[in-house]
């Protein structure tokens, strides 16, 4: 078989779909592939297995495994715009080597070595710029795929993937490009470009001055590429990955909670084991409130009852006698007022406001429990309303609670809605 560049390219061209499948399968296992799998793919696409070996597209390893040589990995990654992402250290090593070359360059006096160091620096910077460009695009592509979830992975797996990418790829990549980070490639390239900028005029030899000009222009353009990639990471990639992570976490939690509720209903989980949001218990503290004079009054009455002689309760000298009684006249006044004010949205509040209006006129403001309960008793006079006004009232209790602050008691009562049912 005549093996040359043209025949290899011809093979790749004729079997493009096969090569794409081979690359995709191999990429999942770090470009190592089992012989059996490899033969299956060959059979599927009717590609002779031996040709692959002859063209050295695959290389035999131990344990019936084959691998794709790195030259093919790079070429095919570029061809399919699909890049393998080794861990961040593989990117960081460029930063380290660029820094090392630069340190050597500023100390070097020998012209030939200076020339070689400049060439090495340019080649290293070139590889670095390509790798960050590819990596940013690859991360963006994979993050978008994760967002649209074409491979139908569950939300927990999405959380896991997004967190892993953020922590191991996106943030380290951002750090290496970060302008403010003293150890970033940005800082390194700035130092190189400043040095090259001076040396392109100052260096003693003309041809090396030209080399420095190339290094200066090259490092400048790579700084721009680094900044462009960092902008993509900060404005698009990181927020997108963070959003996928956050959304998937919420969905994982929501679905897990709903499934837990189902388990409790089926008796597969105890209700006490169900996690809960710690909302505050809305029920009131169990207040038991007494009238201010309750204790004294009780004591007084008890003492009198223990005496043999009969006694009469008299108002004390400074006690103004409250002459308000819920007699027939008062009762009729409130009944009429209630009919006039219908529909009433909040009955107990109406009782309080009505009493307040009456007592404001009398320049006396002590609305106590006794008065309030007297007026509230109107609620239970359905038949009287029917007889007196020939109407029927409709009373609706709502679960909402209303607070009424009386002179001697704070009441929490239900909201009651009253309207005319029939006339």
């Amino acid at each position: 078989m005549n093996i040359n560049g043209k025949s290899i390219l011809g093979f790749l061209h004729r079997n493009y779909d096969f090569v794409y499948r081979l690359f995709s399968i191999a990429k999942q296992t770090n470009f190592f592939i089992k012989e059996e799998t490899l033969k299956d793919v060959c059979r599927e696409f009717e590609v002779p297995f031996d040709t692959l070996k002859e063209y050295r597209i695959v290389r035999e390893q131990r344990n019936n495994e084959y691998n794709l040589p790195s030259v093919y990995v790079q070429f095919l990654s570029h061809l399919f715009n699909d890049f393998f992402m080794p861990l961040h250290e593989s990117v960081d090593k460029y930063r380290v080597s660029i820094a090392n070359y630069y340190t050597q360059l500023i100390q070097e006096k020998e012209h030939n070595k200076v020339n070689d160091l400049i060439n090495s620096l340019i080649s290293e910077i070139e590889e670095f710029s390509e790798i960050i460009d590819n990596r940013t695009q690859q991360l963006l592509k994979e993050t978008r795929e994760l967002k649209s979830n074409l491979s139908q992975i569950d939300y927990l797996e999405k959380v896991r993937k997004a967190s892993y990418w953020i922590d191991n790829y996106i943030i380290p990549l951002n750090d290496i490009l970060e302008r403010e980070n003293p150890h970033s490639i940005y800082q390194e390239l700035t130092r190189i470009s400043d040095f090259a900028s001076r040396q392109q005029y100052e260096y003693s030899r003309f041809e090396i001055r030209n080399q420095f000009t190339t290094l200066y222009l090259y490092s400048k353009s790579i700084i721009e590429i680094a900044l462009k990639n960092q902008a993509i990471i900060q404005k698009e990639l990181l927020p997108l990955a963070e959003r996928i992570k956050s959304e998937s976490q919420i969905l994982t939690g929501a679905i897990a909670y709903l499934e837990d509720i189902r388990k409790v209903a089926l008796g597969l989980k105890k209700a006490e084991e169900l996690p809960q949001i710690a909302f505050f218990e809305s029920t009131r503290l169990n207040h038991t409130l007494y009238s201010e004079s309750f204790g004294q009054d009780a004591k007084f009455l008890l003492e009198r009852l223990q005496e043999d002689e009969s006694f009469v309760l008299q108002p004390t000298e400074d006690e103004s006698f409250d002459t308000w009684f819920f007699d027939l006249e008062t009762k009729n006044y409130y009944k009429k007022k209630l009919i006039q004010d219908l529909p009433i949205d909040n009955f107990f509040q109406w009782c309080y406001t009505s009493l307040q209006a009456e007592f404001q006129e009398m320049k006396c403001k002590n609305i106590n429990t006794e008065k309030f309960f007297a007026v509230s008793s109107l609620l239970f006079l359905d038949k009287e309303f029917e007889k007196d006004f020939q109407i029927r009232l409709d009373t609706v209790f709502e679960p909402e609670k209303v607070e009424i602050r009386l002179e001697d008691l704070i009441l929490e009562v239900p909201k009651i809605h009253i309207k005319i049912l029939t006339k």
Binding site: R243, I250, G253, I255, L258, P275
Partner: protein, 176 residues
């Protein structure tokens, strides 16, 4: 000894004890923020409750949580998250910035894949409106005047945190 209290003391204490979230845009939120040391000590010493003051809201935490309320709220929001995600919406963004029709919510809950779980929280007799009213009273949502649409307040972030905690524990348990 005179007992001096910050301005709006009655409203602050009363609202918090009712289980209400005091939001950043309420009149007495500033007082609460400024006097948070006093109020934290006040609730701790008086009732053994923990007061949580955040940038955007404040609320009381108690050891005895209203199980039913918490369950209903979490179930409803969980189902809505699930359904909105199926519709391809960004759920967090939608909840934080959207306005919702009570009718739409009701329909979504009743027709959800999780409608059986919605039925389990027994809102049938009183209906979703009553529950939303309670959420409104607690400042977790804001119903508009017509009571037909509502928006979530910042207090909803407690739900997101809760869901994320569950997710984290799931993640941790699958790692083991």
């Amino acid at each position: 000894m005179t007992f001096e209290t910050p301005k709006n003391h009655y409203e602050i204490v009363n609202d918090l004890l009712k289980g209400k979230f005091i939001l950043w845009n309420e009149v007495y939120f500033d007082t609460l923020m400024k006097e948070q040391d006093f109020y934290k000590a006040f609730f701790k010493e008086s009732f053994d409750y923990e007061l949580v003051v955040r940038k955007e809201f404040a609320y009381l935490l108690s050891k005895n949580t209203s199980e039913e309320f918490s369950k209903r709220f979490t179930v409803i929001l969980s189902i809505l998250c699930y359904e909105w995600n199926l519709q391809g919406r960004d759920i967090k963004d939608r909840i934080e910035n959207g306005s919702f029709s009570v009718f739409e919510i009701q329909t979504l809950l009743e027709n959800s894949t999780y409608s059986d779980i919605f039925k389990l929280i027994k809102l049938k007799e009183e209906g979703i409106e009553k529950f939303l009213k309670e959420l409104d009273q607690r400042n977790i949502i804001k119903l508009d005047n017509s009571k037909e649409t509502f928006e979530f307040t910042k207090a909803v972030s407690l739900f997101f945190e809760f869901a994320k905690e569950i997710a984290e524990s799931k993640l941790a348990s699958t790692k083991q």
